[in-house]
């Protein structure tokens, strides 16, 4: 089957995870090498998880940690009594 942008995009994650058979992998690589649009697409596809990972990172506040530990401690001692 002839490779094009749509077929390449459909297999992009499989390709990046190394689970595409060799022949198909070579067809994808050959297409992308000659396609500026696909190269641009791959850049933004790969950037997407990182951008969202950074944007949604969050840690419990000091107060939240204190509340968590207090709740766990109360339950543990309740269990033990």
């Amino acid at each position: 089957m002839t490779m094009n942008c749509e077929r390449g995009v459909a297999r992009l994650m499989d390709y990046l995870e190394g689970v595409v058979p060799r022949a198909a992998r070579e067809r994808i690589e050959s297409h992308v090498a000659g396609c500026a649009r696909c190269r641009a697409f791959v850049v933004s596809y790969r950037a997407t998880p990182l951008i969202l990972r950074v944007a949604t990172a969050r840690k419990p506040t000091v107060d939240e940690r204190r509340r968590l530990l207090a709740a766990l401690s109360a339950r543990r001692h309740g269990r033990e009594s």
Binding site: N4, C5, E6, R7, V9, L12, M13, D14, E17, V19, C35, A36, R37, C38, R39, A40, F41, V43, S44, Y45, A47, T48, P49, L50, I51, L52, R53, V54, A55, T56, A57, R58, K59, P60, E64, R65, R67, L68, L69, A71, L72, R75, R76, R79
Partner: protein
């Protein structure tokens, strides 16, 4: 002095076994090791700090109750992520949120020959979201976008791409085949990628 052995213990499974035999310091060590990860996962799946805290608390209480029966049948981390995911989803469902508008329209477009419709410049735009959008606004948009994914995609994407589990770990956590996880994560990435591009363009006008 009782904290020494727990701190020296390396594996989660060993800490769980010690905690099950009543060693408080071992349980504290597990909480300390995992509280940020559980909280962050819960936050990403519920979108509310208060819900994230409730879920985190419930997950560790559940761990406390099950310590005695925990036999390391699956790796501790996998077990904890599974419980945390289920708790977060139950919490979320209980809130009966309004169905959000789908992100389907942000999927990439192709012409009748299967070629990208957009220019290379336009296709690269989503990658600029981190630099071109204000950090706080991006955080809000990001949570809103993840919220709009269908649940099956959202969970797979959060575990795989945001919590950085491997595809195989996500598959074990959710009881799915790896191929199914890849398909869901891929679909989520495509929609979110398109949405990031839309945000950049909208905020550049």
């Amino acid at each position: 002095m009782g904290r020494g052995p727990a701190r020296a213990a390396k594996s989660d499974e060993e800490l769980a076994a010690r905690a099950a035999s009543g060693e408080d310091a071992a349980f504290d060590a597990l909480v300390s090791r995992y509280q940020e990860r559980v909280y962050r996962l819960a936050w990403r799946l519920t979108g509310e700090p208060e819900d994230a805290l409730d879920v985190t608390q419930e997950v560790f209480l559940k761990l406390l109750r099950r310590l005695g029966s925990f036999r390391g049948e699956s790796r501790f981390g996998t077990w904890l992520y599974r419980v945390a995911t289920n708790e977060a989803l139950m919490h979320r469902r209980a809130k009966k949120r309004r169905p959000a508008e789908s992100l389907e329209r942000f999927l990439p477009g192709f012409d009748s020959n299967g070629l990208h419709r957009s220019t290379p410049e336009a296709l690269r735009v989503p990658a600029q979201a981190g630099e071109r959008l204000d950090r706080e606004r991006l955080a809000g948009f990001a949570m809103g976008a993840i919220e709009r994914l269908p649940e099956a995609y959202r969970v797979a994407f959060v575990l795989r791409d945001l919590e950085e589990l491997s595809t195989e770990e996500v598959a074990r956590t959710l009881g799915l085949k790896s191929a199914t996880v890849r398909q869901r994560v891929h679909r989520a990435r495509l929609m979110l990628r398109g949405y990031l591009g839309h945000l950049v363009e909208e905020n550049s006008r």
